[in-house]
């Protein structure tokens, strides 16, 4: 799932400065689940924007909306009526949703309210961690299902760096586990340490041509 985080209010206000009527559009999928851009967050941001502009005595009227998925052109179409009445759109979706809205409503300025951060999973209530960097060349089969590309701070492929801290945490953050210590422990448990002893060639960074595009075989 895509994980995002809301931008500071100041930055969002800077983008919409001068617009008097805006649409704040939430997205009901990934960013709702990661508490960044769902219906609840649309309400909070809108309320904050109203409070801030009334505090300054500027005029701002806000239309609130939240659709199922902003990354689908057809679903974004649902916003058309509301978009017609506003001067600008603040999208609370990931970068994909923002661009989809911008493509569909080309004539209106679209501003991102979130920073799209990574693909991850919920670790606990309200805590998400990055798990995949979509390298296009998955190697989880030989690392015990633990991705060194994303979970090792340096993305090393042949084992830990010398920075592993006492007990097996990462050089850059004692709170984070060294991915290679985790990989070692899991492979050891599975009796597959030979996988870790193998040499792995430098990674193919062209596994996916960027910008990526996939055309699935037609069934």
């Amino acid at each position: 799932m895509i994980i995002a985080e809301r931008k500071p209010l100041e930055e969002i206000r800077g983008m919409i400065a001068g617009y008097k009527k805006i649409l704040v559009a939430g997205c009901g999928t990934c960013v709702t689940i990661c508490w960044a851009g769902g219906e609840k967050e649309v309400g909070i941001l809108s309320s904050q924007l109203r409070l801030a502009s009334s505090g300054e005595g500027t005029e701002l009227s806000i239309v609130e909306a939240c659709i199922e998925r902003q990354c689908e052109k057809e679903m974004v179409e649902e916003l058309r009526d509301k978009v017609q009445d506003v001067e600008a759109i603040v999208s609370m979706a990931c970068g994909i949703g923002v661009q989809t809205i911008a493509d569909v409503f080309e004539e209106k300025p679209v501003f991102p309210a979130l920073n799209t951060t990574f693909m991850g999973m919920p670790e606990a209530e309200g805590v998400w961690t990055e798990k995949c960097r979509s390298c296009g060349d998955c190697m989880l089969y030989w690392t015990g299902g633990i991705c060194p590309v994303v979970r090792c701070a340096k993305g090393l492929l042949n084992g830990p760096c010398g920075g592993t801290r006492k007990g097996g945490s990462c050089e850059i953050d004692p709170e984070k586990d060294c991915a290679w210590v985790l990989i070692y422990r899991r492979l050891e448990k599975q009796g597959r340490l030979d996988l870790m002893r193998k040499y792995y060639e430098p990674k193919n960074y062209r596994a996916v041509k960027r910008p990526g595009k996939i055309e699935a075989l037609k069934a």
Binding site: K40, S47, L51, G55
Partner: protein, 129 residues
């Protein structure tokens, strides 16, 4: 422009603060009449948007009053409310509202005086607004 109404909105847990308010009345512990109590089943029910809307409406201050820590009938309601209040204070700061206008307090059902003190404190704090 949102006009100020000088009211204090107190979200009161019906297991503690609401009862303390009733008791204050029975004891005739007179306190400022600008407080508006909204009864909630647990202070953990209070959502960020409730707090923000109260300020949008022009409230001078917002209080979340729940049970003492460790004594929430729903275990985590009051601690969640505390975290939420801290988060809401950041949201308020972002819009230029004095964070002191939002406060989370913990009281027991029989603590009428404490309830009155909370109201008086907040009234005092928000007076020179």
């Amino acid at each position: 422009m949102i006009r100020g109404n000088n009211k204090i909105v107190a979200f009161c847990c019906e297991n503690s603060a609401y009862l303390a308010a009733d008791k204050a009345g029975r004891m005739r512990l007179h306190y400022p009449d600008n407080v508006r109590i909204i009864r909630v089943p647990c202070v953990g029910r209070v959502d960020l948007i409730h707090i923000l809307k109260a300020f949008e409406k022009g409230a001078a201050g917002v209080l979340l009053i729940g049970c003492h820590e460790g004594a929430c009938q729903h275990l985590t309601g009051n601690t969640r409310a505390k975290e939420r209040a801290a988060y809401a204070r950041n949201l308020l700061k972002e819009v230029g509202i004095d964070e002191a206008r939002l406060r989370m307090a913990n009281i027991a059902p029989d603590m009428a005086q404490q309830f009155v003190r909370e109201i008086e404190d907040m009234t005092e704090k928000t007076k020179e607004r």
